[in-house]
């Protein structure tokens, strides 16, 4: 059992690694020129080039993949003697990168060709002082300095350089002369919970993703918990009465629900309950984070939509499994022993019949997540699905990658749970 668990865990790890590689290379490598999106189509090639350098896009793809996956601070740390640390910003709470110089958090910026050190005191106050002579001479005879800038990059400043550089800051893009030559964007990497900055909002992806995910979890969880008992009961009912009228009704209803896309079901529900009957709100309006709890009515239609989509599939699998078990020799043997039908079904058939759907149900989480995206877009719920969708339409690679990784992780984890549950419930494996 432990061995089985470890093997699955290992396989899950490999899967996630592969998924991350697929995501990264699809999005970052095949994804086209991000500078067009940021600078607009009228920027000059030189400007684009400069921005690419600043975003660290001049590094080779494998390097950027490792940075994205496991962080770039390892690499950056070799450039500077000062330890690199992250500290939350007192106002926004978002983490920022600092170098520790003489026990003081320090960043640098360039003003009129000279470096200015910005230090944060223990109380959170920021002071600025001229950096003084921090320069070192490299092999080519240039005076250089590696330091952290205000945009969380490790920057190589070259003294007296007259190359024009575009600097992207929270205020926008401005041109600077004489200084920054090479950038290593500092990040902890997605494995350590840092998914980088959103290109759309310029805020850390991680800070948004999790709160969004919570909304989705409520939505999907409610639908999952409500539909599973229903679908299992109806699936078993249909399977036991295979070929009879009840079976036909359940099967056809289920097929109708599975074959109808979520957005169609959602639209019908909105039309019926939201517009014609006016019983329920047609769209969710989330003004505050806890709106779901204050007015659960807004969740009714989205949850119903998801339930309809799930119901068909799970009931179908359960029916097929139940019908197959009811045909099996050991069920015939139980009948021949004179065991009453009720007991044959509940004691003999049910346990075997529900084994197969477990793994399938857990695989269905994938489907549910897909449904969640559609439902959130349709009903305007600010969840993870809507987040991916917004990021995807904008082309926000970091956000898409992080959110996709999260959904895949949930999917893989539930599959692992399903496999383990199956193993545990199946005596043939448990007592192998």
């Amino acid at each position: 059992m432990a061995r089985f668990f470890l093997r699955n865990l290992f396989s899950m790890f490999i899967t996630m690694l592969l998924v991350s590689a697929v995501l990264f290379f699809l999005l970052e490598v095949a994804g086209g020129d991000v500078t067009v999106r940021l600078l607009g189509v009228f920027a000059t090639p030189a400007q684009r080039d400069s921005l690419r350098r600043q975003l660290g896009l001049d590094a080779p793809a494998w390097q950027r993949y490792l940075d994205w996956l496991a962080g770039s601070d390892w690499r950056a740390q070799q450039m500077t003697p000062f330890p690199l640390v992250t500290m939350p910003n007192p106002q926004t709470g978002e983490p920022g990168w600092w170098a520790v110089v003489d026990d003081t958090l320090t960043r640098w910026r360039l003003a009129d060709g000279e470096l200015i050190a910005m230090q944060r005191t223990a109380e959170g106050e920021e002071t600025t002082t001229p950096a003084g002579d921090v320069w070192t001479i490299d092999d080519a005879g240039n005076a250089i300095f590696w330091g952290v800038d205000v945009n969380n990059n490790l920057v190589k400043w070259v003294r007296g350089s007259d190359v024009d550089v575009l600097v992207l800051s929270k205020a926008g893009v401005r041109s600077e002369t004489g200084g920054p030559q090479q950038y290593i964007p500092l990040r902890k990497g997605i494995l350590r919970g840092d998914a980088g900055m959103s290109l759309q909002t310029n805020r850390p992806v991680s800070s948004t993703v999790f709160s969004r995910a919570a909304n989705s979890l409520i939505l999907a969880g409610a639908a999952f918990l409500l539909v599973m008992p229903l679908a299992l009961v109806f699936g078993v009912l249909a399977g036991v009465n295979e070929g009879k009228l009840l079976d036909r009704i359940i099967t056809i209803t289920g097929l109708g629900f599975t074959a109808t896309p979520e957005f169609v079901i959602g639209v019908f529900l909105i039309l019926i309950f939201g517009i014609w009957l006016r019983w329920l709100p047609a769209t969710a309006v989330f003004l505050t984070g806890d709106a779901i709890f204050r007015d659960p009515k807004i969740l009714v239609l989205p949850v119903l939509t998801l339930m309809a989509a799930e119901f068909g599939y799970v009931s179908r699998i359960t029916r097929a499994s139940m019908a197959e078990v009811m045909q099996s020799p050991y069920i015939r043997a139980a009948f021949i022993k004179g065991v009453p039908r009720r007991r044959v079904i509940f004691r003999h058939a049910l346990r075997n019949a529900l084994l197969a759907p477990i793994t399938v149900i857990m695989l269905q989480i994938n489907w549910l997540i897909g449904g969640v995206i559609v439902v959130e877009v349709l009903f305007g719920i600010p969840g993870l699905g809507a987040y991916i969708y917004d990021a995807a339409t904008f082309g926000d690679f970091n956000a898409v990658a992080a959110a996709a990784m999260l959904t895949v992780f949930v999917a893989v984890l539930t599959r692992l749970i399903g496999d383990m549950l199956y193993t545990y419930l199946n005596p043939r494996i448990r007592f192998a």
Binding site: T260, V264, A404
Partner: protein
């Protein structure tokens, strides 16, 4: 008995005809399959007709926007004053009948996006699956591990990622359907192969010294075609479903040709003033997907009964 003249070649032709008749008999012995087939043929017919004739040009803004159904516009008009029925009719084309190539949208190849996507998935998945299943061991583990990574993606998320990375277009959607479908096909084919592999006729081929590819392609796959066919049908359903969803999300097949999902998306904004506009394309998608599913389901039931 000792005649050595070659037997007339006609002998095998009635055999082939018989097989066709048998296949048709399978379809017609299932009420479910017949109903499904009828729905699919209905939409195919609508699509073919729309290639030559629609009541009004589907992209022309000839009427007032958001008209209710009337004798002139049987399904009303959309938010740009285009005839909804004409657009619904033309909407079958991109799904089932034609694919616009990325290089020049005017260059069209026959076969809809859903069809090509599924063909791609079956080819890629079939080859991977039969290799994994037949070779077993390390090859199997590597192939399945990679496919597991793709299966782990929620399908729509993978679509979103592909569209984000590669942009929009018919060929991109075909690619997305192939990528999302291939792992499932591969799993199915792998399972079938591992079952077929246990049969003695595979041993017979091996003891004849046949190559691995011969055994896979000529001895194994022909016996897996029934389930693969049914699975492909179901996948056409999923593909139509997915194209609709992508269209609804505004990420699907590019304009100007009408596409049902996009029509739902457009009509959504006018749901209070013109609720019926959203109903028609929704119904179109739902009926076509249900039709394909019924057909595949009926076929599967009959094939398993037939094999018993």
């Amino acid at each position: 008995m000792t005649t050595t003249t070659a037997p007339p070649e006609l002998e095998s032709q009635p055999g082939r005809l018989n097989r066709l008749r048998e296949a048709l008999a399978i379809v017609f012995s299932s009420r479910t399959a017949v109903v499904g087939l009828a729905i699919v043929i209905f939409w195919l017919a609508i699509g073919v007709i729309s290639l030559f004739w629609t009541p009004y040009p589907p992209n022309a803004q000839l009427f007032d926007p958001n008209l209710p159904p009337s004798a002139v516009n049987v399904m009303g008009t959309d938010h740009l004053g285009r005839d909804t029925w004409s657009r619904i009719m033309a909407g079958t084309q991109v799904v089932l009948l034609k694919t616009r190539l990325a290089t020049d949208p005017r260059v069209v190849i026959p076969g809809g996006v859903a069809i090509w996507g599924v063909i791609g998935a079956v080819l890629v998945g079939g080859l991977l699956g039969v290799n994994a299943g037949y070779r077993g061991g390390a090859a199997d583990q590597v192939i399945m591990q990679v496919l597991d990574a793709f299966i782990a993606f929620p399908v729509i998320v993978l679509y979103l990622v592909i569209v984000t990375a590669l942009g929009r277009g018919d060929v991109i959607v075909i690619l997305a359907i192939t990528v999302t479908g291939a792992p499932g096909v591969a799993r199915l084919v792998r399972g079938l192969t591992m079952d077929i592999k246990t049969h003695d006729y595979i041993r017979a081929a091996e003891t004849r010294g046949e190559s691995k590819w011969y055994v896979m392609l000529w001895e194994t796959l022909p016996n897996a075609r029934g389930p693969i066919l049914v699975d492909a049908m179901l996948r056409v359903g999923y593909a139509i479903f997915a194209i609709g969803t992508l269209g609804f999300l505004g990420l699907g097949l590019p304009p100007p040709d009408p596409d049902w999902g996009s029509m739902v998306n457009d009509a959504r904004k006018y749901i209070y003033s013109n609720p019926l506009a959203i109903l028609w394309p929704s119904l179109a998608i739902a009926t076509l997907v249900i039709g394909v599913n019924l057909f595949a389901d009926g076929l599967r039931e009959e094939i398993t009964r037939y094999q018993r």
